[in-house]
Symmetry: C2
Subunit: 201 residues, 2 copies
DNA sequence: GGGCCGCTTGCGGTATTCCACAATAGCGTC
DNA sequence: GACGCTATTGTGGAATACCGCAAGCGGCCC
């Protein structure tokens, strides 16, 4: 898993350096990119952190870059830096899923705090996605019948009732139940319910 | 429980009438208000539906009206109608929790569909709030000890283990467990877990 | 034809939960 | 002092869940 970083994309070197200094003095790891093209060429799906970019960039614009990233299923939070006149553009990006935007001129702390929130958001999203992946891969090992039995277990029904509903014996339900618990790596129906609740939440 | 309605606030009578005609032909119940003041004076906490208002109104502005409503803990979805130049103001409202905004000039269908989504959102929110209320009122009947036992049950632990952890007998845990199930109106730990998961979700 | 898998069912036994009833002690209120 | 509530613990018994082992049947694949 790669180290999290705030990726700063700006075609103005002075601005990049100023932002880097600011972030580093606050302990925020960052990586500088002189253009959307440079960033897009380097980007890897396993990157973590967030992206900070000016909405108006030479070459591929900030918005176009955002669209391309979304097309690549990149979920990194994206923060746009905009001028006052570009707020409608930024709003369009927000509606498309950008994390936030910040208008020039802005307070230094304001941007750093926004970036910190974005990176925390990304860390939490990745953790939650990893959990879901684990649970989903376990669910995938269940046979169709096991899934049926599991759903009824999750409704709080006794094995006897499940047996009646599926027109099988209680012993069969016991056997399925035991295998479901083994495959899902839980020891009780309550643990199973809690695990699947995090999948839905 | 009151009937859901789309509350339209505009100081221009012709616009109010045009919107009403549009909504009614699409089967959307609506109520017209000539000013923020009129609406705020009439507003009741049990109202359902949504609010559609121009961001620039004479007297109390749309934004000010929104702030006042939020101050009164009104959760009705709010949709702002804005001119192109007012988008930054609308964005501020979005960040404060407004449901959405729509820029003039807009397609008739666009607004009606947005209002329908807002009303569906409100209906779902009210339903979820009612459920939470029911569950929370049941939780409130539990004694401190019952809550303690319940938390451990929700971790999937056996009565025997709970007894060891709380330094009480298993029979005491059984008694508490039984009363928790009675008060929460469930018949199993799984049902309880599912019920409380909807509280968190 | 044989092996594997999934589904099914059974046995015997242990552990846990549920149900009903009963009782004591401490605390707070009337 | 009596009453009500909560916490606690116990008895007896029934129902349910869990565990390990065993086995047959049908379908699919090699």
């Amino acid at each position: 898993m790669s180290q999290a970083s705030a990726h700063i994309i700006d075609d103005d070197e002075a601005i990049r350096d100023a932002l880097e200094w600011q972030f580093r003095t606050r302990g925020v790891p960052c990586t500088l990119w002189p253009s959307s093209e440079a960033f897009l060429q380097a980007w890897q799906p396993n990157w973590r952190g967030c992206i900070v970019l000016d909405i108006r960039l030479e070459g591929i614009s900030g918005l176009a870059c955002f669209d391309i990233l979304r097309g690549r299923h990149c979920n990194l939070p994206v923060i746009f830096i905009t001028g006052h006149g570009d707020v409608p553009m930024a709003v369009g990006a927000l509606k498309k899923g950008a994390f936030d935007f910040i208008e020039k001129p802005f307070n230094d702390n304001e941007l750093v705090e926004l970036v910190q929130r974005a990176m925390a958001h990304d860390a939490e999203r990745q953790r939650a996605a990893a959990d879901r992946g684990t649970v989903e891969s376990r669910l995938a090992t269940l046979t169709a019948r096991e899934r049926e039995v599991m759903e009824l277990i999750l409704e709080g029904k006794y094995n006897k009732v499940i047996a009646d509903e599926l027109a099988i014996s209680m012993r069969t339900v016991e056997a399925h139940r035991s295998r479901v618990f083994d495959k899902m790596q839980v020891r009780s129906a309550v643990e199973l319910a809690q695990m699947l609740a995090t999948l839905r939440g």
